[in-house]
Structure formats: structure tokens, C-alpha cells
């Protein structure tokens, strides 16, 4: 077992997959320049020394092109790992992801595959409205894409490796405050969970969630950063005698629905916490699933704890209000009893 950050775990996953399969390569902005950043959050740092600039391919600032090239390369036999510097820029390549990558296999009657990975950092980190969004909900709503959201180093490595081997387009959302990027690319206010990662090779299967904490009184579903908010809230709630079950789905599409439903059937109460805006968020989908499929087990309304329906504000005091904190989770849970 080695201890490492998520950025390191992702780097290791890329390194292993590239060593295993010559078809795997990375492309993106500022990912491999000598003396450069290794991507916006250091994930690819040093990899061009190992694999060369053909396989750690620096691109122009051309998001449509990055996505398009990744799609075309995947259709013709390579296995690209592309990235955007901030998730917000996925909107620049939205047509390529939503209309091309996601629909190609379907439109071809199953004869064409698009085995590509797109990595995107999300979350508000004091940079204002255009570098802050949580994009997961948009992409869970596009059939044909798989969507991952690892919150630990173990999962980040295992899921990225699975994503590279998957024959379909996979988006991986990574939270900026969880990377643990070092040096000039480190983040203020980061949580940077250092996790244990086995020395031997492993995969984390796409589509399997985990229970991060067992409990009997209420279920909290979180993802990425809010898994940690949920765990912190659970600690506090325990002091009031409320036993919280915390679920981290890890994969948003396909979703491990049964894990959530089973938990709610046990606890009778559900709170969903996400950093994204309330209206139309991913939390709504979880609520809708449970309101349909576990309705008779529910003892209380389903609560969503989300950012308000505003863009991300710049000032730290406003941003802290915007991003759901532990207290809001505690309050939401308590309102159910």
C-alpha cells in the first residue's frame, strides 16, 4: 500500500494504462510542455518525459478540436484520455460530447465504438463564475455517456483505469479541492485526502457505489467534495444520537441505484448533498428515483442540500455561502426528525 493524493493516483493510472496499451494517449492544453504545469492540476506532470510528446499531446486552445480529435481517434482505434483545464470549458465542446461522442455508437447501430475518456475538474475555488461549476448533472442527462465522480485516491485510480478500458465515452469529474496538487498548482482550502492505494494493479468497476459510513436513521448521498461534507455532518449528528449512512455512488452513470434504495428502505430518510445548483441538479434525479421506487419506505420528505440557483460568486464570503457546508447538511437532516 502506498499513500497518495488523487492527482498522484490519477497520474499513476494514466502511466499504467499507457504502459499496458500503446493505443492509450493523452491530449489537452498545457499537459506535456517541458517545464510546464502538467495540466491545470499537475495530473500529467512528468508523463511526457516518460512517454514522449506524441503520446502526451499538447494541443492548441481548441476545445471543439480536442473533443473532436479524441472522438475521431477513438473511432479509428486509439484510446484517448482528453482533458479540459476547468470543467466549465466542457460547454465549448458540448456539441462534440453530446451530439457526436454520445450518439455515434447508437446511430451506427452498434458498429462503431468511441472508447475515449474526458477528464474535467469541477468545483468552486475562488475563481469566479466561469471557473467554478459542477457539471455532472448536464452529462448524466446525455444517454451514451458514462459519468464518474471519484472522491478518493483509490477510486480515482481504479475508475480511471476502468474508464480507459471501457469501449464507450466516459467523463470523469474530479474536484479541484480533492486533488492534493502540489507546488505552484496547489489550492487554498483544499481537503486533499491522502488515500491508500494498493501496490498491485486493480480496477474499480464502473457502476458500483460504496457506503462510506453505515447508519440506521438517515441516508445521505454525496459525491466528490460533498462526500466529505456528509461524513463531517454525520460525525456531528452522531453526537445527537442520529446514526447516518453516507453513500458515495462513485459512478453517476450507470448509477448503483439499488445501493441507495436499499439504504433508504433501511433508514426511511434521505438527504442528497451536492455542490451544484439546486434546480435541475443531479440531486433531483436521486430524489425522483427514491420518490418513485422507495416511496412507501420514506418517513419524511426528501431533502436536497445544494448551491442556490446563482452563478458562483467571486468573494470568498459569498462563495462559502454558495457552496453547501456541513452545517447545512446537519440542519437538513435534523429537519427530518
Amino acid at each position: 500500500m502506498a499513500k497518495m493524493s488523487i492527482a498522484e493516483a490519477l497520474r499513476q493510472a494514466i502511466r499504467e494504462e499507457m504502459a499496458r496499451d500503446p493505443r492509450v494517449f493523452c491530449l489537452g492544453e498545457d499537459i506535456g510542455i517541458k517545464g510546464g504545469f502538467g495540466g491545470a492540476f499537475t495530473v500529467t506532470l512528468g508523463l511526457s518525459d516518460e512517454f514522449g510528446h506524441e503520446r502526451i499531446l499538447d494541443t492548441p486552445i481548441s476545445e471543439i478540436g480536442i473533443a473532436g480529435v479524441a472522438i475521431g481517434a477513438a473511432m479509428a482505434g486509439l484510446r484517448p484520455i482528453a482533458d479540459v483545464q476547468y470543467g466549465d470549458f466542457l460547454f465549448c465542446m458540448m456539441d462534440q460530447l453530446a451530439n457526436q461522442a454520445a450518439k455515434m455508437t447508437y446511430m451506427s447501430g452498434g458498429t462503431v465504438k468511441v472508447p475515449m475518456v474526458m477528464r474535467a475538474p469541477v468545483g468552486a475555488t475562488g475563481r469566479g463564475a466561469q471557473h467554478a461549476q459542477s457539471l455532472e448533472a448536464f452529462f448524466t442527462h446525455i444517454p451514451g455517456l458514462k459519468v464518474l465522480a471519484p472522491s478518493t485516491a483509490y477510486d480515482a485510480k481504479g475508475l480511471l483505469k476502468s474508464a480507459v478500458r471501457d469501449d464507450n465515452p466516459v467523463l470523469i469529474f474530479e474536484h479541484k479541492l480533492l486533488y492534493g496538487s502540489k507546488g505552484p498548482r496547489s489550492e487554498r482550502g483544499a481537503l486533499s485526502p491522502i488515500g491508500e492505494v494498493p501496490d498491485e494493479e486493480y480496477l474499480v468497476p464502473i457502476g458500483k457505489g460504496v457506503i462510506r459510513r453505515e447508519g440506521t436513521d438517515v441516508t445521505i448521498v454525496g459525491k466528490l467534495l460533498t462526500v466529505y461534507r456528509a461524513l463531517a455532518a454525520a460525525e456531528e449528528l452522531a453526537q445527537d444520537g442520529i446514526e447516518t449512512e453516507v453513500i458515495d455512488p462513485r459512478t453517476l452513470v450507470p448509477l448503483d441505484k439499488e445501493l441507495i434504495l436499499e439504504s433508504v428502505r433501511k433508514t426511511g430518510r434521505l438527504v442528497i448533498v451536492e455542490e451544484d445548483n439546486l434546480t435541475g441538479g443531479w440531486a433531483a434525479d436521486i430524489a425522483a428515483i427514491v420518490a418513485e421506487e422507495a416511496f412507501f419506505w420514506l418517513d419524511a420528505p426528501i431533502k436536497r442540500v445544494s448551491a442556490p440557483d446563482t452563478p458562483a460568486p467571486f468573494a470568498p464570503v459569498m462563495e462559502q455561502f454558495y457552496v453547501p457546508g456541513e452545517e447545512r447538511v446537519v440542519e437538513a437532516v435534523k429537519s427530518l426528525f
Binding site: 471543439i64 479509428a76 482505434g77 462534440q96 457526436q100
Partner: protein, 318 residues
């Protein structure tokens, strides 16, 4: 690439197949036997034909909302295209795609892409894979004049250029993007002039002259295959039909249509063949009959094929 080797008669057959295929489509559509909408290629056959005559089955083709001609020229079976248009389970996309998405990867044609310009960066990626996998395959990407104003054009051409990718970009400038005449959308004469913005060679050619297209495309495809990078070819042409299904074409003048009808690439090639002694009227009639039989067969196949099951909608997402 010398003219003596030019497979002119084969190209004639291909062009005529495209023409008759589409005329039949139009007829079937008007009769209500084909659903949805159709973007016909009538008048532009020399472009797909002249370009694809150089391609191997393992070369790649990326197409548009107007793909039937490209598909036939690349070797997709007319019956499989027809069955797709009929929305039958035997269609080249199993009736999942439809007219705007025909293709068959077994002959190197990916499903056509109906978002204008979106195939352009994808073609760059295909070219990248061809090179990185150590092959000498080439990717050809067709698109219209209208597509050259999409951001995807810009990003795709630039990336193909800076990485010297084995891609040939073929702009079919038929003077209109739907109803929009070229000068309303461009302040320049030629789309090919934009190649210079990417450090890529650009060539303009008469898209109604299959020999000229064949010549220019051959050079570009050779360059690409030899690792010398992409080319932007602009073929000046004209669709001798509406933009899509029952377009009354009232945004074009009668004179313009008549002038272009006189440049129809198929009679033009027929004349050349006879001039060159490569065909007689009899040869051409025989080809005409051959083509008719092929299309009759395609229609029969499509009509006899079973429709998909409704629940087949759930298949092939991943």
C-alpha cells in the same frame, strides 16, 4: 495519376449510380414510401466520385447531412443505404441512423454527421489514429461551403495542419448553405483561400469535372498518405435539386439553375468518354441498365426487409 490510368468509365458508373439512386429516393419519398427528410446530392456526383476513386476500403470517410453520394462512392452497398432510408432492420445503421447518418465502417465510412462542421475535427482524430497505428490510411472529410463558417472547421483544420495529419478536407461549395447564397456568408472568393490561415495548401477545382477532381484529389491523397499533411480542396459545384425534401428553391434564379444544369457532370462525362473513345452510346446504355437493375434490387431488398422491433430502440446505447 496520369490521365491514361484514370478509371473514367468506372467513375461514370459510380456517378450514374448515385444519380439514379437519388432520383429513385426522391420518387419514393414523394410517394410517401420513405419517411423523414432527404438531402439529395444530385449535381454534385463528380466530387464524391473523383475523390473516392483514390481511396482504399480501409481509408476513412467522414460525411455530412448529404451523405448518399459519399456512401455509394466509398462502397457502401446501395441496398443497405436504401434499407436504412426505408427504416428497415437491414439498413446500414439498423434503422437507428436514417438518411443523415448512413455509413458502414466495414468499407471505411463512419456514420455521417448531420451537425454542420462537426465531422471536421473528428476527421483530424481519425487521421491521427491512422498515423499513430502505423498505417498509411488516409481520412477524407467532406463538407459544404456553409460548414466553413463553423468554429469546428477552424479548430479541426488547424490541428490537422500543425500535426501534419493524413487528412484531405473536401469542401463542396455548391454556392448555397440551405437558402443562404455564398456571398452573404463570406467576404472572400474561395473557401480554399482559408487554407493559408492554417499553413495548409488550398486548391480550387471545378467540382463538376470529375477528371479535374480526380487529379487534384489524387495529389492531396498522395501527400497525405506520404505523411506530408492535409490539404483543403474546394470543389465548385451546384446541387441540381432542393436543399432537403420538398424545397421549392425559390431563392435561386431560373437562369442560374439553367446555367448549372448545362454543366451537369454526368452528361459532361458521357461526352468526354465518347470523345476519348472510351465508350459508345451502347456502352452507356448498358451501364444505365446495369445501374437500374442495381437500384431495383436495392429497393426490392429494402421493401422486403423487416422493420426493427420497437424495443430495438433500447439497444446500442453503449
Amino acid at each position: 495519376m496520369s490521365n491514361s490510368k484514370t478509371p473514367l468509365l468506372d467513375m461514370y458508373r459510380t456517378m450514374l449510380t448515385i444519380r439514379r439512386f437519388e432520383e429513385r429516393c426522391n420518387y419514393l419519398f414523394m410517394q410517401g414510401r420513405i419517411p423523414s427528410t432527404l438531402h439529395l446530392y444530385i449535381g454534385q456526383e463528380a466530387v464524391a466520385t473523383g475523390v473516392c476513386a483514390h481511396l482504399r476500403p480501409d481509408d476513412y470517410l467522414l460525411s455530412t447531412h448529404r451523405p448518399h453520394g459519399h456512401a455509394i462512392a466509398k462502397g457502401v452497398a446501395p441496398r443497405a443505404i436504401m434499407a436504412e432510408l426505408f427504416a428497415k432492420s437491414t439498413g446500414c445503421c439498423k434503422a437507428k441512423g436514417g438518411s443523415m447518418h448512413v455509413g458502414d465502417v466495414n468499407v471505411g465510412m463512419f456514420p455521417a454527421i448531420a451537425i454542420v462542421g462537426a465531422n471536421i475535427p473528428i476527421a483530424a482524430g481519425v487521421g491521427l489514429a491512422a498515423r499513430r497505428l502505423g498505417t498509411d490510411r488516409v481520412a477524407v472529410c467532406f463538407f459544404g461551403d456553409g460548414a466553413a463558417n463553423e468554429g469546428a472547421f477552424h479548430e479541426g483544420l488547424n490541428m490537422a495542419a500543425i500535426w501534419d495529419l493524413p487528412v484531405v478536407y473536401v469542401c463542396e461549395n455548391n454556392l448555397y448553405a440551405a437558402s443562404t447564397p455564398f456571398p452573404l456568408a463570406f467576404k472572400i472568393e474561395n473557401v480554399a483561400d482559408r487554407a493559408a490561415a492554417y499553413g495548409m495548401p488550398g486548391v480550387v477545382v471545378d467540382g463538376n469535372d470529375v477528371e479535374a477532381v480526380y487529379q487534384v484529389a489524387g495529389e492531396a491523397i498522395d501527400r497525405a498518405r506520404q505523411g506530408e499533411g492535409p490539404t483543403l480542396i474546394e470543389c465548385k459545384t451546384y446541387r441540381l435539386c432542393g436543399h432537403s425534401r420538398s424545397d421549392p428553391r425559390t431563392y435561386r434564379s431560373q437562369e442560374e439553375e439553367t446555367a448549372w444544369a448545362a454543366k451537369d457532370p454526368i452528361p459532361r462525362l458521357a461526352e468526354r468518354l465518347k470523345e476519348k473513345g472510351l465508350a459508345t452510346d451502347e456502352t452507356l446504355t448498358a451501364i444505365e441498365q446495369e445501374v437500374t437493375a442495381l437500384i431495383d434490387e436495392a429497393v426490392a431488398f429494402a421493401e422486403e426487409s423487416p422493420p426493427p422491433e420497437p424495443t430495438d430502440a433500447l439497444k446500442h446505447v453503449f
